[in-house]
């Protein structure tokens, strides 16, 4: 990205913890004039994303950035006050041989960067491999949703929630009440899917139906966060005795997917349920920047590492990234040239028809 002037405006579109955090970092650390258009902020919806300090990723250059950002991210998230983060073990499971290899590779890579990672020696629920990544934090999205507006205001971010007050057209410029605010950066899958043309989007990602279940967990399910790579099921803690479970639902079998992935899902009882669409990049890697055949820019495919990678993204957008960070981001441009080295990574969830 070019080196922008310090007051250059930018319009972020997104309501997720990543959108909030990135907007705050851009405004406070890079002095960008940020307007965050966040139609879901503060609306007490069930979350669509999960954010962990570590996620299913094998590429060492990504793991390195996560490790490098760790202290900084923790410090900044601390500004939201107590209860935003829960630190616990993250268990990741894989049963198919290919994903089990990927998971093992990830564990060795994480250990190489000093991140606490170990295999779970015995387990009954999953036939393949389970790795435990200790001391992982996860964000309580509901608490961030409540505290986001106040934090953003302190960072100097202008927040607009009323959908009727902003418009985004094909020129890539966001208008607020008819006035141009700045170039749009879509950082939320729902908004990317809504605004990016189907042709452009199909070059990088495929929409996927998802369900978030909020559940009361009356057994050990609530002990730790959990990702099942093959079934694409993610479980996060959501307060005392509660968990959020995210599962793919393209075939309408999300519930079966959850019970199969967890093995002992009988301990779960439904409290809430939300259906939504997310995006799966064709190569499982992030896609950053200008969309193909479009004047819109977007960031997608970061998965649970979105917040952990936000400082890198912010520096890249602000033109103050290190050479290593820029190299990482350039390799993950949404408009990657043909023949560029592959950067494929793990793609949690059932395999999909790819449009590429």
């Amino acid at each position: 990205m070019s080196n922008p002037s310090q007051s250059e405006p930018i319009a972020l579109l997104g309501s997720t913890p990543f959108a909030v955090f990135l907007a705050g970092l851009l405004a406070s650390e890079h002095r960008r004039r940020v307007t965050l258009f966040a139609p879901e902020l503060g609306r007490k919806r069930l979350p669509r994303t999960v954010s962990f300090s570590l996620g299913p990723v094998t590429r060492p250059e990504t793991l390195r950035l996560v490790a490098d950002n760790r202290a900084h991210v923790l410090a900044r998230l601390g500004e939201f006050g107590p209860g935003l983060m829960e630190t616990d073990a993250l268990r990741i499971a894989a049963e198919a041989p290919g994903t089990a290899l990927g998971l093992s590779h990830m564990r060795h890579g994480a250990a190489g960067f000093g991140l606490p990672a170990r295999p779970e020696p015995s387990h009954q629920a999953v036939a393949g491999e389970i790795c435990v990544f200790d001391d992982c934090w996860q964000i309580n999205s509901s608490i961030m949703d409540v505290r986001a507006r106040e934090w953003l205001e302190k960072q100097g971010v202008t927040v607009v929630s009323e959908e009727s007050r902003f418009a985004l057209k094909g020129d890539g410029i966001v208008r607020r009440d008819g006035e141009a605010v700045g170039p749009a950066l879509l950082v939320d899958d729902a908004l990317i899917a809504a605004h990016a043309g189907a042709r452009s989007l199909s070059r990088i990602a495929t929409p996927r139906s998802m369900v978030t279940f909020l559940c009361r967990a009356d057994r050990g399910i609530a002990r730790a966060a959990f990702i099942h790579l093959d079934h694409g099921v993610t479980v996060t803690r959501a307060g005392t005795g509660l968990v959020q479970v995210h599962a793919p639902d393209d075939d309408g079998r999300a519930t079966e997917r959850v019970t199969t992935a967890l093995g002992d899902a009988e301990g779960l009882r439904l409290v809430g349920r939300r259906k939504y669409t997310d995006l799966v990049t064709h190569d499982g890697a992030p896609a950053i920047g200008g969309l193909p055949s479009s004047r819109l820019s977007a960031i997608t495919g970061l998965g649970p590492l979105d917040v952990a990678l936000a400082p890198t993204i912010a520096r890249h957008l602000a033109g103050s990234a290190s050479a290593r960070e820029d190299e990482w981001a350039r390799a993950r441009q949404a408009r990657r040239p043909k023949g560029a080295p592959a950067i494929d990574d793990l793609r949690p969830g059932p395999a999909r028809e790819e449009a590429r």
Binding site: R64, T99, S104, M106, C215, D230, E256, L268, L270
Partner: protein
């Protein structure tokens, strides 16, 4: 125990035909306490008749026992059997039987235990409620034991439900009419006569008689429908078989379904709004009309609705004392108020309840502190009574509508939820927004025309001119002004969601939020009435009603055991040389070689391969162990050749390995013997 809350003597015209038989006393035991009751009682009504008006404690404060909190029960010895769990409100009280309630119970403590042994009255079931009551009962997880197939099913046996059932029956359809109460009729009689309208005391019995005569209508009273999916209603009822109540899970499969689930009165949001002794007029009327039960000798009526005044008049007729009628509306006008004044009880208007406290053990009383509705001045007055009849407006009962896939929006002008969506389901009566008796009745007929003929017709719903009768008001919020008070619950939902102590907010005023409020709203299933309360409290935006209802008003069903489960997703075909995440991992020229190491070492797939022994940085790795192919694993390597030495880091161990023959990457891990590369 005696029955302190049972009405005796002349019951008067409206209460003259209860379901209980006063000439047939029975005894039963609940949680070890012997109760006197009457034939026709349910276990819940028997408990209330005997003065047990407390479910237990929630957050250290007493929680009323009523139709929204009544626990699961079972016959003694069956507590562990989910298939034998029964709703206390539907389970008949049978002479000589021993029942237990299900739930975590707290020991009553030595003093109270001694007091009970000495004959002191028991007032609580002693449940210790840590979280919400979100589970209606374990029967929601049980399969139906009986399936009834009909052409049309109607849920709700009030005037609109009966009207719909009769209209369908007249067309020759086989109809099932499901009613939660033990009798048909609904709440119409509580609302009383209105000029120009059929008198409910005539219209309701007439409709009941017609339904009873119809050969096409099967009536299931005492049957609670709790879910609708794929055209099938799931319900629970508790018939008596061989002299013993047995729960029966019923599925009703119908081509058409009409919901006529009526309405419930909501409670304003103030501290202590679910303390024992605080009753909604609808529930109090049902208890009085069906079971001859009236809680306490003295009552304070606090209502923003007109029908609730009628209940006070019924209490007066039964010799009860109405210590005060208070109304948050400004100078409300209704004929009932005039009647009340004629009886001589004191009436205050323009006042809200600031808080309710409860004191006394043997004969507890409630103290209501009032505040000025307009200016907020507290301690205008303190009213002491044994019972608070409180109504904060009416809301349609749309739990089932929502569970069937419908939704709701919040009408700010009336403070009511209004159903939206699901045109394939029929909605009639109060659920569909009608309020007059003729409107409800006619809407029941009209919905059948819509479902069967596809036609819609306008249904008149005459309203009393506000000049003569002040419209019912919306529920209000009165946050705690001091600490230590009982919770201010957002509604009568099972989630027991309550306003955070000390929160100051209003839907029309300050909307500062705290994370605590958020976690409260996210901790349990929400009933639509709680969502309405959360909107009034400013915790939710009215414009978000539909999405929140859609997300949060769910049946709290259990995730079932996986059975065969889903097959694992297909892996990339054998033609792919590498798993996708290893594509170009070590550059475009990467190749795979067998690794040769000490035979006693098992090298774990995924381990990183380095050029030097002291390397640990994954970005400096030169390969990765891919699988068990070859003697000791195979690795992707770039710029290396057979015979050279590399170092595999497997955890803390660093293993020296020789590079063996180059092999086809696609064969790694797929057989014991890797295919040599061409």
């Amino acid at each position: 125990m005696t029955e302190p809350n049972r009405l005796t003597g002349d019951l008067g015209r409206e209460l003259a035909y209860p379901l209980v038989d006063r000439s047939m006393p029975i005894t039963l035991t609940v949680d070890g306490t012997r109760l006197s009751a009457l034939a026709g009682d349910t276990v819940l009504s028997a408990l209330l008749a005997n003065g047990i008006d407390t479910l237990g404690t929630h957050r250290g404060h007493r929680l009323a026992l009523d139709d929204t909190t009544a626990p699961e029960i079972a016959l003694a010895g069956n507590a562990a059997r989910a298939d034998l769990a029964m709703p206390a409100a539907l389970c008949p009280a049978v002479d000589g039987l021993d029942y237990v309630t299900i739930g975590k119970q707290r020991s009553p403590g030595p003093l109270r235990a001694i007091s009970r042994l000495m004959g002191g009255g028991r007032r609580s079931l002693d449940h210790d409620i840590a979280e919400g009551l979100e589970l209606p009962g374990r029967w929601i997880d049980e399969p139906a034991a009986r399936t009834i197939e009909v052409d049309l099913a109607v849920i709700g046996g009030g005037i609109s439900g009966m009207s719909a059932a009769l209209a369908a029956a007249q067309r020759g359809l086989r109809v099932a009419l499901l009613e939660r109460d033990m009798a048909l009729g609904g709440l119409s009689r509580l609302f009383g006569r209105t000029e120009g309208q059929p008198p409910p005391e005539e219209a309701i019995p007439r409709a009941i008689a017609e339904v009873s005569r119809s050969r096409h209508v099967q009536v299931f009273t005492g049957t609670e429908a709790f879910d609708i999916r794929d055209g099938t209603i799931q319900a629970i009822r508790v018939p008596i078989k061989d002299g013993v109540p047995r729960p029966e899970r019923v599925a009703v499969r119908a081509k058409h379904i009409v919901l006529a689930t009526g309405l419930s009165d909501t409670v304003p949001v103030f501290p202590g709004n679910r303390l024992p002794g605080v009753l909604s007029p609808g529930f109090a009327w049902r208890m009085a009309a069906h079971y001859s039960i009236w809680i306490g000798q003295s009552a304070h009526l606090h209502t923003a609705t007109n029908a609730a005044y009628r209940l006070a008049l019924l209490g007066l007729e039964q010799g009860k004392t109405i210590v005060r009628a208070s109304d948050p509306r400004i100078n409300p006008q209704t004929r009932f108020i005039e009647f009340c004044k004629a009886y001589g009880f004191r009436h205050s208007w323009g006042v809200q309840i600031a808080e309710i406290t409860r004191s006394g053990r043997a004969h507890p009383t409630l103290t209501a502190r009032l505040l000025d509705a307009q200016f907020g001045a507290v301690n205008l007055d303190e009213i002491v009574s044994q019972c608070l009849l409180v109504s904060g407006g009416w809301q349609p009962n749309l739990d089932l509508w929502v569970r069937a896939g419908g939704s709701a929006r919040f009408a700010e002008s009336t403070g009511k939820l209004v159903i939206t969506g699901r045109p394939e389901l029929g909605a009639a009566g109060s659920l569909a927004g009608y309020s007059s008796l003729s409107g409800c009745r006619d809407s029941g007929e009209a919905v059948i025309e819509t479902l069967l003929d596809g036609t819609t017709r306008a249904v008149e719903d005459p309203q009393i001119d506000p000049v003569y009768e002040t419209p019912d008001d919306k529920a209000y919020i009165s946050p705690a002004k001091r600490s230590g008070l009982a919770p201010a619950y957002l509604g009568k939902g099972p989630g027991l969601t309550a306003l955070h102590e000390g929160t100051r907010r209003s839907v029309f005023g300050d909307k500062r939020q705290s994370a605590h409020d958020e976690s409260v709203l996210l901790s349990s299933v929400l009933a639509p009435s709680e969502i309405a309360g959360a909107i009034v409290a400013g915790l939710l935006s009215p414009s978000d009603t539909e999405v929140i209802v859609d997300e949060r008003c769910v049946l709290p069903r259990r995730f079932e055991a996986p059975g065969a489960g889903l097959a694992l997703p297909t892996e990339p075909s054998g033609e792919a040389p590498y798993p996708p995440f290893l594509k170009d991992r070590y550059g475009p020229d990467q190749a795979v070689f067998a690794l040769v190491a000490d035979a006693s070492r098992r090298i774990e797939p995924g381990s990183l391969v380095f050029a030097n022994t002291d390397d640990r940085d994954p970005t400096r790795s030169v390969g990765v162990v891919m699988g068990p192919a070859g003697a000791y694993g195979a690795a992707i390597l770039t710029g290396w050749s057979e015979g050279q030495t590399v170092y595999v880091r497997d955890g803390h161990a660093c293993i020296t390995a020789g590079i063996g023959a180059r092999i086809e990457p696609g064969s790694v891990g797929r057989s014991d013997k890797a295919t040599p590369a061409a």
